[in-house]
Symmetry: C2
Subunit: 160 residues, 2 copies
């Protein structure tokens, strides 16, 4: 089995990629010779990570009958100082609002995604540290980040 995408050069730095039947526009900012008509390519890897683990969590919470009221993710990639520009560490912050009774279900869904299901996270963990934290109703209930990563200054581990 394989995934296949095609990307067409439009001109300048603009490319249109066909990805599972949808068009994704990529471009460079003006300072890099582009026209800023779409996202730059590299952080699409971070978006892939957010979508991969986010869909795991949404599906697990739906299956458990405990969907969040709101759910968002912030993914931060530390980039290397020198070219080729690569990510050197990635942090995912999961941010939920919902019933206090469903807090553990959210945390468990995140853990199952990160430890078992999410293929993008699995790939990235083989080349760099991937850490994550969980915020529930405004309170950090889990983090495995160290201070050096993109994390709160005073991390707590399963402090819930």
């Amino acid at each position: 089995m394989r995934h296949e995408i095609e990307a067409q050069w439009i001109g300048g730095m603009e490319f249109h990629a066909a990805v599972s039947g949808h068009t994704v526009v990529m471009d460079a900012p003006e300072r890099a010779g582009g026209d800023d008509r779409g996202p730059i390519p590299k952080p699409l890897m971070l978006a892939a990570l957010a979508g991969c683990t986010g869909m795991d969590v949404a599906a697990l919470l739906r299956k458990a009958g405990k969907p969040a009221d709101t759910f968002s993710l912030k993914v931060t990639g530390e980039i290397s100082a020198r070219p080729p520009i690569v990510y050197e560490a990635v942090h995912v912050e999961y941010d939920f609002t919902g019933s206090e009774a469903d807090r553990e279900a959210a945390l468990e869904a995140v853990t199952r995604s990160q430890e078992q299901y999410c293929g993008v996270s699995h790939m990235l963990k083989r080349i760099l540290p991937v850490t994550w934290s969980v915020v529930y109703n405004g309170r950090t209930i889990f983090t495995n980040a160290t201070v050096s990563a993109a994390a709160p200054a005073d991390p707590v581990s399963r402090a819930a």
Copy 2:
């Protein structure tokens, strides 16, 4: 320095990611509980690779004063048989049309991107084989793929 993206759960399996000022919609197909309103997440890694190396090549050919008439890329990722679903090999096909006199410039730009500049390729090469081929005016002028990868049945190496 860091890259940061944010992704908002819309409902079902749909997420909207904000990536360098642009919105990227991600969704699952209907058979996976989604509404197919955007690409699935994982192949966005392949799109990131296409955009990264494609922009290198477009910029190098522009700088050389030898832009292609047309330029497209096809990126294929072989996926694992079991979860977590990861890519096990990736192949990039670069397809150019243009003046025969500019053929070597296109090949050189691809080589420089793959061997020096492209950070996405650099990251992926640390976890899986990344191979590539170059087609110029309909003829394969380079491939480093083996038969087992997503490649022509009878690969030629720098046969130009």
